[in-house]
């Protein structure tokens, strides 16, 4: 389990992570999303031991994670722009990890090499962005990590490889109880694969819950009236109007589904429909709710 306690990270005057607290349980896939500069990549770098915390601590499996080789050996981090030397091939990079991770699985490495069609002895630097990410993934899975940290991993991957990746992640989580944290702006992919979501803004956790709960915290409702009721029809509701045309409304309302629907039905709408909110709509609503992007 990963425990983040009062974690603070500063870059000069800028606070990238502000007194952050959260727990990530084993065998889960957590999606890390948020506004630009919200601290997603910083959090992953701090988790993987690249950055030292300026305050607070990260505890993995009851041990302080920073500069702890035995903990780092259970983790693997793929950054948003993985580095490869000019002469690096998959085989040469595997040579680096093979001696540093006792969990290195040569058989699995060979299997993954055939699964991802990129070639063992080709220079990685000459490959496309997507293929470079595939190379990183092969290396990452071959170390059989207990904790896998992926930063914008879906960037540049074609739909087939994305599907393969998702299957692999699910298989690792199911079979080996792997824990994965994926930082991404691609909310559809996060929605697809993640059990939990952490929503960040300006170094703070805005929301953290399982995906369904997050999505159920907000409701997209379409309603129309033959005669408009008197006064403020959404009085007492945490509402954001998406569309208003005559007597027609499309709104996002935060709160308990039953209470909202009871209140709106009491207005005798001619038409009312509750639509499932997408993660993107939830994200936008949450962000606009705190004044971001306005």
């Amino acid at each position: 389990m990963i425990e983040i306690k009062k974690l603070t990270k500063k870059f000069d005057e800028t606070i990238a992570l502000n007194d952050m607290n959260c727990k990530i349980y084993d065998g889960s896939i957590t999606g890390l999303t948020g506004s630009n500069g919200s601290g997603k990549s910083t959090l992953l770098r701090t988790l993987s031991g690249v950055y030292a915390p300026d305050g607070g601590e990260i505890i993995i499996d009851d041990e302080l994670a920073f500069d702890n080789p035995s903990i780092k050996e259970q983790c693997f981090f793929i950054s948003d722009f993985p580095y490869f030397y000019n002469d690096s091939t998959l085989r040469k990079m595997a040579d680096l990890y093979r001696g540093l991770y006792s969990t290195w699985d040569e058989e699995y490495f060979q299997k993954l090499c055939s699964l991802f069609p990129i070639g063992n002895d080709k220079k990685i630097i000459n490959m496309s962005k997507g293929m470079q990410r595939q190379a990183s993934l092969i290396l990452a899975f071959s170390t059989r990590p207990k904790y896998l940290f992926l930063d914008e991993i879906f960037d540049g991957l074609d739909p087939v490889i994305r599907k393969t990746l998702k299957s692999l992640l699910i298989q690792e989580v199911t079979d080996n109880n792997m824990t994965c944290i994926i930082a991404s702006h691609n909310l559809r992919e996060i929605d697809d694969i993640c059990d939990n979501i952490i929503l960040l803004h300006a170094g703070n956790v805005i929301a953290k819950d399982d995906t369904d709960t997050i999505k159920n915290r907000i409701h997209k409702i379409q309603l129309a009236f033959t005669t408009m009721p008197e006064g403020d029809i959404f009085d007492g509701l945490d509402v954001r109007i998406l569309n208003h045309l005559g007597n027609y409304y499309s709104v996002m309302i935060k709160g308990n589904e039953k209470e909202i629907m009871d209140k709106l039905n009491a207005l005798n709408p001619a038409f009312i429909e509750l639509l499932p909110a997408t993660l993107e709509e939830v994200f936008i609503n949450e962000m606009e709710g705190i004044g971001y992007g306005k």
Partner: protein, 619 residues
């Protein structure tokens, strides 16, 4: 999933070390080849040429050349350090580049190694790749000489280059930890290697222009490159190559570079643990390197600029400059120089003028240090200028070591070590007069720093000048050395000369004739009569060598009316030089200008000359 046994930190470090060696193998092979071509290959070719011609003489000649510090060693000493410096810098920059590139930092920072282990494994990789080819080629080269006399020297040269190269790797490791950019690491390495020797030079040369008794002769080659690994092999090898203490000096050289390497790497390791990964590609992680380099650069550049300003104004102002004006221009130029150099280094290191204002504090520190330095030096360095040891504290004293004759006010002061009280008192008397003359040139407590005149005290010949060196060995074991390179006015050395003449006459009276090693009678620099006790086969100017010893009796007879030797150098006809030893085999030397006042001696010389007709000595 069942994990295998976790790898220990040491196992990972060794694996990473080996992986780094494999990673840079192509560069390493290129380095090995180049290194082999630089030194042993040329030697090998010479050897094969000798063998092909089947000439034992040529092989002997080749070995002779090597054993007398010839071309083999010279090539090793001159070319190997350059190649070693370039490649060790390249290896170090490659190995520590993970500190300067954000993406590389992500890669290495997330590896299951702690920071210290990662840094040290990279350090040892760089050091191994840099040093192993030097050692291997050095040993091969030494073995190829087939000469047991040359081998130790070649091996010592190899070790010196190796430890200086280790120093270079260590310095770059430290600089790399402190810098956020590779370009800053390169610039800092170049500036440190260039500016420290200049800093050392100016801190010695400036006082030698000002401070009586202090000379740039105090410049010490090994101190010159104390923090300059690029130049260290050269000073380490060439400053000690012709001395008997070659191996003694080598010990200190090797010890220094080993110790400084350990200290620098230990500091770098401590800093590395505290270093923030986000410092990569963003200026300095720790400002210590910038501060050190700015200090050396600003002080050196500022003082040189200050001196230049004084020189320019002295030249362009027809009425010249008073001492106060000179100091005004020196201090103003110094301040301006510091600002200019600081601005330039700030531009280089910060790629702009951001935070320039905060760097002014550093300028202030350099300015205060520089002004303190100027004031301390120009006012006499806490009495250094006026200090003359107390006669009772002096065990012995010697004059200039560089020449056989030393002239003070036209009189020859023999460069021997004096331990008798009269001579010590007389020399201290002379020294007191020089110190007094020197300190009396002060104006408002300050010395003039532009009137450097190295032409007072001459030695051996009229055109070959040496500074007047006084070296005291005190009874408490300490040494005091003063080197006067400037004319501070006449001194009365008659007391010293008198003491010297009295001592010499007493010595002549008591010396057993068997202890005389050489006697020379010279006229206008041409030997007329000679006696060599140890090499009689070269005695070709006298048929009666034993009779030459009687000249001493004649000299004593001539001086009978006085307690000291008659001293009339301006009326000299002959010069009688006598070397002798005491019972402890200590050598002494007496030189007596024989004038017509030495009537008995003159007669004897003329008589001895008549016995030499068969040798065609032309007087």
């Amino acid at each position: 999933m069942e994990n295998k046994k976790t790898l220990s930190n040491k196992q990972k470090a060794i694996y990473h070390f080996e992986w780094t060696l494999r990673k840079y193998r192509p560069v390493f092979i290129a380095y090995c080849i180049l290194m082999f071509m630089v030194f042993p290959l040329v030697e090998l070719c010479l050897l094969m040429l000798s063998a092909k011609r089947n000439s034992g003489y040529r092989l002997f000649f080749y070995k002779e050349r090597l054993s007398t510090y010839g071309e083999g060693i010279f090539l090793h000493a001159a070319a190997t350090p350059i190649v070693a410096f370039i490649f060790s810098t390249v290896f170090s920059l490659l190995c520590f580049s993970y500190l300067h590139n954000k993406r590389l930092t992500d890669l290495y920072g997330s590896l299951p190694l702690n920071r210290k282990t990662l840094f040290l494994s990279r350090y040892f990789s760089a050091a191994t790749m840099s040093i192993v080819p030097i050692l291997v080629n050095g040993i091969i080269g030494a073995l190829l000489t087939f000469d047991t006399n040359t081998m130790p020297n070649l091996l010592m040269t190899t070790i010196k280059i190796s430890v200086a190269t280790l120093g270079n790797v260590s310095f770059i490791a430290f600089i790399s930890v402190c810098c956020g950019l590779t370009i800053d690491t390169i610039v800092s390495t170049i500036l440190l290697n260039a500016m420290y020797p200049l800093f050392y030079t100016i801190t010695i040369v400036f006082p030698s222009f000002v401070l009586p008794g202090f000379s740039y002769y105090n410049l010490h080659a090994n101190l010159f490159t104390l923090f300059c690994p690029a130049g260290a092999p050269y000073t380490g090898i060439f400053s000690s190559i012709d001395g008997e203490d070659f191996f003694d000096k080598s010990f200190f050289f090797i010890a220094w570079w080993c110790i400084i390497s350990i200290i620098v790497v230990a500091l770098a390791t401590i800093l590395c643990k505290k270093r923030k990964a986000e410092a990569a590609q963003s200026g300095f992680a720790f400002p210590v390197v910038e501060i050190i380099i700015k200090f050396f650069t600003c002080f050196t550049g500022g003082l040189a600029f200050g001196y230049f300003v004084v020189f320019v104004f002295e030249e362009i102002l027809s009425f010249g400059l008073g001492l106060r004006s000179k100091y005004f221009f020196l201090v103003s130029g110094f301040a301006a120089g510091i600002m200019i150099i600081n601005f330039l280094t700030h531009l280089i290191f910060h790629k702009g003028i951001e935070n320039f204002r905060s760097s002014l504090k550093e300028c202030g520190v350099v300015f205060i240090f520089g002004i303190s330095f100027i004031v301390i030096v120009c006012t006499g360095f806490f009495g250094y200028d006026a200090y003359v040891p107390n006669a009772d504290d002096v065990q012995s004293v010697s004059f200039s070591e560089e020449c056989e004759h030393f002239y003070l006010n036209g009189r020859d002061i023999l460069p021997v070590e004096y331990s008798d009280r009269d001579s010590i008192n007389a020399i201290i008397n002379v020294h007191n007069q020089i110190a007094h003359n020197a300190t009396s040139t002060k104006y408002l407590g300050f010395y003039n720093f532009t009137d450097f005149d190295p032409s007072l005290y001459n030695c051996d010949t009229d055109y070959f000048y040496y500074p007047l060196t006084l070296k005291y060995h005190l009874k408490n074991g300490k040494n005091v050395k003063r080197i006067y390179t400037t004319n501070y006015g006449d001194v009365d050395s008659s007391a010293f000369i008198d003491a010297l003449l009295e001592r010499d006459l007493n010595a002549l009276k008591t010396i057993p004739k068997d202890n005389i090693t050489t006697i020379n009678v010279i006229k206008s620099d041409v030997p007329i009569l000679r006696y060599y006790a140890t090499t009689p086969e070269f005695v070709d100017y006298s048929n009666n060598t034993e009779e030459l010893k009687d000249l001493i009796d004649e000299v004593i007879k001539d001086c009978n009316d006085t307690s000291k030797l008659i001293y009339e150098p301006s009326k000299k006809v002959y010069e009688l030089n006598i070397n002798y030893e005491d019972s402890q085999y200590n050598s002494y030397y007496v030189s007596i200008p024989i004038s017509f006042s030495y009537s008995n001696t003159m007669k004897k010389i003329e008589y001895l000359k008549t016995l030499n007709t068969t040798n065609d000595i032309d007087d």
